[in-house]
């Protein structure tokens, strides 16, 4: 008993440095930032207190809501792009032949490239003059489909989602492959003996056994997409005319381009609130599924 108590002590003491670091680097700045949100501050003059004005302005700014909408497009594209594609690939690539290992590395490769490079590469791919997308469409005789992918507001949000999906399939693929390999072979063998093959095995054995992993992947995916910034910032900078503005680029442009540090801080705080709400919703949705799964 005493040993357990002591062990607990040590756990607490050992966690303390990390916790302290986390508190000062993450938690405290969040509160500082929401505090700065109450000030009118250009970063150079003395800040002056203006109450809730910044927060009200954020809520009343149509661009903020457009940025939120665009962010939701990224979230949806990521959850319904990254996760299913990674799952499909994981199911196809579970063996370790040379070819499969090659495909796996190829899918993981974008993850290793700096996101800025990803943005630049895709900027060239979409380039209206010499981009490969338009060139391919022309080769296929689909000239009418060619367009300035990044500057046409009708399509540019979807265009910028593609590189983000492409960029982050790798880690989910690895997580899913690990999950599949964790399924005990006894269960698979038993299923085989019971005559479950192909899709039956997939839906009744493999997917249910991976469900917790998929849930984690979805949460990671949502929180990751809300932080989306780099690729879009490099490709379009939020433009043209703020049509690809995301919450993060909106915050950046307000803080560092127009020197409204107070307003930028208020936007940051709103981003945190929105993220918490979304994570909460996804948790509730997932929990329901879990209960259902258990009752069956």
């Amino acid at each position: 008993m005493q040993d357990i108590l002591k062990a607990k002590h040590w756990i607490i003491i050992s966690l303390l440095p990390a916790l302290l670091l986390y508190t000062f680097i993450v938690i405290v700045p969040i509160f500082w930032s929401s505090y700065y949100g109450f000030f009118k501050w250009s970063g150079m003059n003395e800040p002056s207190f203006i109450g809730w004005a910044n927060y009200l302005e954020v809520v009343n700014d149509p661009i903020f809501w457009r940025a939120l909408k665009n962010n939701m497009i990224i979230v949806v594209a990521s959850v319904f792009g990254q996760v299913p594609i990674a799952l499909l690939l994981a199911l196809l690539l579970r063996k370790t032949t040379l070819f499969q290992r090659f495909v796996r590395s190829a899918v993981f490769l974008p993850m290793v490239i700096s996101t800025v490079v990803v943005g630049l590469i895709w900027g060239y791919i979409y380039n209206p003059e010499f981009g490969i997308v338009n060139a391919l469409l022309e080769m296929l005789g689909l000239e009418s489909w060619t367009r300035a992918w990044l500057s046409d507001p009708a399509v540019n949000m979807y265009a910028v989602s593609v590189p983000i999906i492409w960029n982050y399939i790798g880690p989910y693929l690895i997580i899913f492959i690990a999950a599949i390999q964790n399924i005990p072979t006894e269960i698979e063998d038993a299923a085989k003996m019971d005559g479950a093959n192909g899709f039956r095995k997939l839906f009744y054995i493999t997917l249910p056994m991976m469900w917790t992993t998929i849930k984690v992947a979805v949460v990671l995916c949502i929180s990751g997409s809300l932080k989306a910034f780099d690729q879009v910032f490099v490709m379009t900078g939020g433009g043209p005319a703020q049509s690809t503005e995301l919450l993060a680029t909106y915050m950046y442009n307000n803080t560092f381009m127009t020197y409204r540090y107070g307003y930028g801080s208020a936007v940051s705080t709103m981003i945190i609130i929105v993220s918490l709400i979304l994570i909460l919703i996804s948790q509730i949705l997932m929990r329901r599924k879990e209960e259902k799964g258990m009752s069956i």
């Binding site: 040993d3 002591k6 250009s42 150079m44 990044l150 500057s151 900078g237 433009g239 005319a241 540090y261």
Partner: protein, 441 residues
Amino acid sequence: MRNINLFLFLMVLISIWLTACNSDQTENTESTGESAEATVTIWHNFAGDDLRARTVRDLIDQFDEENPNISVEAEAIPVDGYRQRISTVAAAQELPDVFFTYAGSFTDQFYNGGLIQPITPLMEEHSDWADSFLPTGLEAYEYGDNGDTYSAPVGMSSTSYLFYNKQLFEANEVEVPETWDQFLDVIHTFNDQDITPIAMGNQAPWVAQSTTFGAIADRVTGTEWFMNAVEQDGASFTDPVFIEALGYFKQLVDADAYQEGANSIDNTQAEQYFAQGKAAMMINGSWTVSSLAASASEDVIENIGVTVVPRIEDGEGRANTITGGPGGGFVLNSEAEGNVKEAGLELIYALSNEEAQKAIAESDSMVMYDVDIEPENVSPLYYEAFNLARSVEFAPVYDLYLSAAAGEAINNGLQEIMLGGDLETVAEKVQQAQVQSLEEE
């Protein structure tokens, strides 16, 4: 168990002691640095590999070598991130002793925040030098009731030259446009020949505003109206005359003057597009002269002519103008005192005196200083543009005078117009942003 406890405790102690040691060491090195007479920190954005950047860095190194008792700690920050870096350290009260600034609202902020101090002692000491700046050269950096000077420009920003491809103009038998109607005719002619009339790379949205719209708007509204609108003194950006100016820009868009996707390629790509002969014209700033001089072949450069944006006959403004004025200069941190202040002033002088201005001018880059350059030392295109700039008058560059927020509003607004947006809405947004920034000052 006890032993492990003791061991861990010691580990913690040792690591604390090690970190403490480290900080001691840094303090030591700092104090040895002070044993030289003065250490001056300088931040600038001459980080690139172009001639001008190398010239300025050489000037700094030369100053460092020639003054053994002054040690210069220079940091070069890429142009794109420079404003943000400087405003971030300004917010943290950690500005370097000397730093590079842009004329206009960027410097206004440092002055309003009390972060910089006058360099008037230099002006008094070297009055010949102070008198040799071109008109308006120093005025941009004068602040306060006494008209104290806070910086001396080391460059000239001239942002709206009309470059044209001589061969394409000859082959299609058109003259270089001098009036707006001729301009539109030329655009139609090139469009009929499937040649892009004007190359533009407006992904970073300042381009359309800085290179094209400023010049058009000045021709339509006149300079005085703009200055009044900036101060919100009897003029407003919702005035019909400003809508009219936006309308002229819209005429270019509607005439398909720009290549498709102009909003998704950057300025450098547009320069290359023009240099490759795919577009007949390009409206761009003096930086284009420098970058073409550095990257294009001689044949290409000889084929490029340079002139001013066509005049607008119904406008209130002057014809023959180029948007521009004094470029950036170095300023002195208000906290610099004693030796550091002396050394900082010397450094600022060394970077903007006659020799420095000549060196910068001969690195294919414009200066705001009365200096003669040798044609054989520079690229022919630069020589032509240099003489053109000295023969015309300057009109204000929009984003140098507008507040940062209003600058963003007009930049985004022009992109909106290129996407078919409504002129009145754009004007409204610019007006709103400018009013709000004036209130915040």
